[in-house]
């Protein structure tokens, strides 16, 4: 028997995208028959969605933020406003397939699972499972790598993954709130989900993918619409460094990482690759935040390397 879920959808106001997601959700909610909650967090800061959704989507509750705060803030607000114990965080560019929510709920029965991610298919492509991205440290730098190709057929009910992409993840609302939601260090975007997953792993919990719960992620609907490419790139690179700095464990890891950073900095300086220097400078400008973030992990049980190894199964 399944349990009701609060489905929290932060939105920047793209109504077409939102309605596409809601259409699939409506069908799924109706099929589940447990009165799941549909909660849209209006992050435009102008409360434009309420009137737009009121009539066509009477079952959708709109929570409007007073000002635009970004995905993490909107997710946190949505978690606070949600009713149920289970929260399915969805981005508006995700379309759930039938049975996805129920399968996800089943995965969270296991108390060791901190968060469960559905099988997220990029644009519905079976060979592009976003949920199976792999974290790896190469040449001292943390990187996220896509997994391509069809997944094995006998993977079991759940598969351990390093992190649940923030575009679609199911979590216990209290745990989410207790963790403070996504770390503000990574605002406005990128790698907040990676940090969320690594933090969970380092604290002895697990992040899993539920192959039976399938959703489609139609990327390009949020970031590319509202964020200039250069700015998005800068945020990505900055946060890629911040997440590694937050979770740097052993001195050896730190040493290798710093050597690679110095090399990249020298390289970029000599070659005139200013973008790389800007990204580094951006990240280095958040060192105070890194310190605070590292301090919050005093209860971490394992280091980054071990966490990554466990996440690889």
């Amino acid at each position: 028997m399944t349990r009701p879920v609060s489905i929290v959808i932060p939105s920047l106001g793209d109504l077409h995208q939102l309605e596409r997601a809601l259409t699939a959700l409506r069908a799924e909610v109706q099929a589940r028959g447990v009165e799941d909650q549909l909660l849209v967090v209006d992050d435009t800061g102008t409360d434009v969605l309420r009137s737009a959704l009121d009539v066509p989507w009477p079952e959708v509750r709109v929570h409007a933020r007073k000002e635009n705060g970004g995905f993490a803030a909107a997710a946190f607000d949505g978690a606070q406003a949600a009713d149920y114990r289970l929260m399915l965080l969805l981005q508006p560019d995700v379309v759930v397939r039938p049975g996805a929510i129920t399968a996800l709920v089943e995965a969270l029965v296991d108390g060791s699972v901190f968060a469960a991610a559905p099988r997220i298919l990029e644009h519905g492509d079976e060979d592009r499972p976003v949920s199976r991205r792999v974290l790896a440290i190469e040449d001292g730098r943390l990187g996220v790598h896509d997994t391509r190709g069809p997944m094995p057929a006998d993977e079991g009910q759940t598969v351990p993954i390093a992190f649940a992409p923030s575009c679609a993840l199911l979590v216990r609302r209290e745990e989410f709130l207790a963790a403070g939601g996504f770390d503000e260090l990574f605002a406005p975007l990128y790698f907040e989900d990676v940090d969320f997953g690594l933090t969970a792993w380092r604290r002895g919990r697990r992040i899993v993918e539920v192959p039976a719960a399938v959703v489609e992620h139609h990327a390009g609907g949020t970031v590319s619409t509202h964020v200039p490419d250069a700015l998005a790139r800068a945020a990505y690179e900055r946060n890629r460094l911040l997440v590694q700095w937050k979770h740097l464990g052993s001195k050896r890891e730190a040493h290798d990482h710093l050597v690679s950073l110095w090399r990249d900095a020298l390289d970029a300086g000599l070659a005139g690759r200013r973008d790389e220097l800007v990204h580094l400078a951006l990240a280095l400008g958040e060192l105070d935040g890194v310190d605070a973030a590292r301090a919050s992990l005093v209860d971490a049980r394992i280091n980054l390397g071990t966490a990554l190894a466990r996440a690889r199964g």
Binding site: P188, A254, L258, S260, R263, A265, A271, L277, A281
Partner: protein, 965 residues
Amino acid sequence: MRVALVARGTAPDRRSGFDVHSLGLARALARAGVEVEVFAARALAGLAPLAQRREERDSEGRDPQERDPKRRTFAVTFVNVPDTEPASPESERRLVEAFGAFLDRERPQVVHFEHLVGFGPGAVDEARRRGLPTVFVAHDWWAAHDSRHAVLPDLTAFEPGDLEREARGALALRWLAGLSGSERARLGPGLGAAFQSVLLEQLSAATGARLEAFLHVPPTPTAGRGARGARAEGSALEQEVERLRARQAAKRAALGQVDARFATSRHLARRLSTLVGRAFSFRAPGVDRDTIRAAERPVRTLEGTLEDTAEVTADLGTDSRDRQDRSSQTKAQQATPLRVGFLGSITKERGLHVLLAACDGLAGKVELHIHGDSSDRAYVSRMRHRAETMGAIWHGAYTQDELPRRLAELDAVCLPSVWPDNAPLVLREAYAAGLPVVVSDTEALRESVLVARDGDEAGGPDAPGRVAQGQGVEGAGTATALGLLVPPGDSGALRAALVRLADDETLRASLVAAVRHLEGPLTKRLGQEAGEWLATYAQLVGAVERRRVPTDVPAHLAGLARQVAALEALPTRTLFQEVTRGLERLGAAVGLDASPHELMALAVGRGSRTRDERGADARAIEWLRSSVRELGEARTNLEARSRWREEELRGLADRIGWQEQRLAERELELQTLRAERDDHGSVREVLEDERHTLREEIARREAEQLRLGEQVEEARNALRSLTDERDWLRDTLDRGNEELRWLREHVAGDIEDALTDREAIEMHFERLCREHETLTQHEVWLRRQVVELFEGLGAPAGAVQRAPTQPTGAVQRAPTQGGATSPTPVFAPRDDPHAADDPTMLRPFDRALEEGRARFARLVSELAWRRGEMDAARIAATNLFTRFAGGELATRARSWPAVFDVEMPRPAQFELPGSAEENTGVVLPAPRGGVQGLRDGVGAGLPQQRAPSPVGPREALVRPTEERP
């Protein structure tokens, strides 16, 4: 505020006033708190082309080794451009690329173009593309011309805006650069990019004349240069004009993108505003007046030694110059020559050669001091030799630090520019040193020499300068002179001006006083200029800065966007500093013990993309070198083959010569043959014409032959027809003859007989008529006798009266066929009523008479009938034989007269009673078969008489076969 200042160059390579000013301005801006990054081209030994090196200078301009770390610095980035590299679109493009890299690296907030020489308009695009505000300062005519001094290669100035004259100059320069041999040697070595003009004395008379002719005379056909040459020259000129026009258009477009445009003289600002079509504002350049004025002025004594004066203050009243002036009115000082200085770049357009010519022979009156140098080594060498020969003092190059001292040792400064000089720095430096000037009279220089007096409205607050009321010598109109003006290039006038200045102490003193009391833009200090620029920059930068931060992002991204914008605005070195400091902190934050240097060392050893790229570049270079080696080897082989080919060619050339000789011979033969061919051709043409004519004739004759053939055939056919017809006619004729014979036998004989009968009949008739007459007369006699008898016998009177006394019958002529009439006696039946009354007496006479009449009528009828038959026979005979037989018979037949009366009834059957028996003298034999039988007989053998054919004789020959018998 971070400013990129684009200059032409800096010391020690470039020491022109313009270059000195650029550096001075950089220094002044740095003192004002501006971060100044100067960008200039320079030849850097040992570096790759367009390599860039940055040097920091303190605000005093000292190099890094000596700089005072406490002073604010500015930096100069040099880009390696060899002096010998000629300017070209490609070199400009590469330089602009290097400039773009400089902008990316230094991230200025505004770009200040002190000049664009060597860069071209592309540099402005580079700045604009990065969203940077720009300012441009015009110091010369570059904005309107590539020849920025607006002089031709013979140092003749052309009117700014005259592209055609400039084009001539450009073509002439190329021609000069292409000279070889002795002419080239006369120009001297190392011309490089500095080569823009020559002294005519450097050229041979012929070359000089040719140059002058090209520069100043339109292209027309002359001896040795025909119409084609003139046209080629004109075409090259047109192309060059178009090229310059395109350049000008590109400059105009680029300068139109500049945010603020300035010029260093009002004249230049006005003219460029017109020529470029964009507004230029006047902004006077500043000069380091304080440093110059602070220099101690040595006191000159009769003996020529120099003594230091008291310490100098900036106050005019206690200036060492004034003290010297107050104490200098000695005969000794009046006897010393006027010390005239030439300072700055020793280049042709600045006219030192004119000054030397003017000063030649003025030793003792004018003492010429030459300070400066340039990269035009040939000219410098030439001038130095000339100067030293005539006793001028050659001081050579000087630093800006040395300038005040050098100025202090002069009485006047001369600027004999031959180009439309604008706002030379040396002019302001001279004024700062309190020295009057002798300059070329150009419009721009005039505004720096003739200035308004204080209180005059002339010139307004922006006038280049003004002098306090009462000071200075009167100049033109309400202007005060700060010096003397002479026509450019006129050494004679210059000489006179120098002599005047040397001799006229009053003039000299008044000029000096005017200079010393000068106020306004001509006295602007560099610091003041820097302040003006700072205000301009601030105005431009403010608007741009607001546009840098993206505003179309969600609020939660704005902070990140600002951070990124702020980092992107940093120069690369600053950004790198930020990063390295941050990495140090990070290391500390993560608890690393290794120092940054250790980490850097490890980083270098780890390998890098730069090293990887360099490796790839090195491999590529090695490959290129290998390729070059191979190409070199291939070239060597080709050269060897080429030598072999040359030998082959020499052999071939010999053979060719022989072949050419043979060819010439063959040519002669060919010409002969051609002549023959032409003759043959003519003959051939004639023959062809003849052939054509003959062919036509043949064709015509063939046609004629054909036609004749047809005619012959027709004739043959006709002949055949005729023959057949003839044969038929012959047959017919034979038959006709037969018939005719028969006719003759019957008709002709009858006719003859008839004719004979006729004659006989006529005779008989005549006889009868006579007899009748006789009878009638006898009758009358008888009747008279009877009457007399009766009278004698006593007979009734009526019976006697009724006896005709005249014959009752008149001989009437009956019409015949043909209208002829013949006497035909016609006896009308006597209608005598008494015939019945007394028949007994006359009855036997009347009966005889009646019988005679009847018989005569029958004869006449017979005669008529015979006549008719004869007519018919004649007609038939005529129809039969007239055309074919002709002959006597036909003639005869035609001649048969139609004498018979056809009106006379013809008996149906000819049976004339008694006609055959009675012999009345006319025997009329009865025709066999009667008349009809005669007719039938005639008709049987005769063709049916036809109506005369309406067709012609020929057609009549052709008869339808059905008509033939």
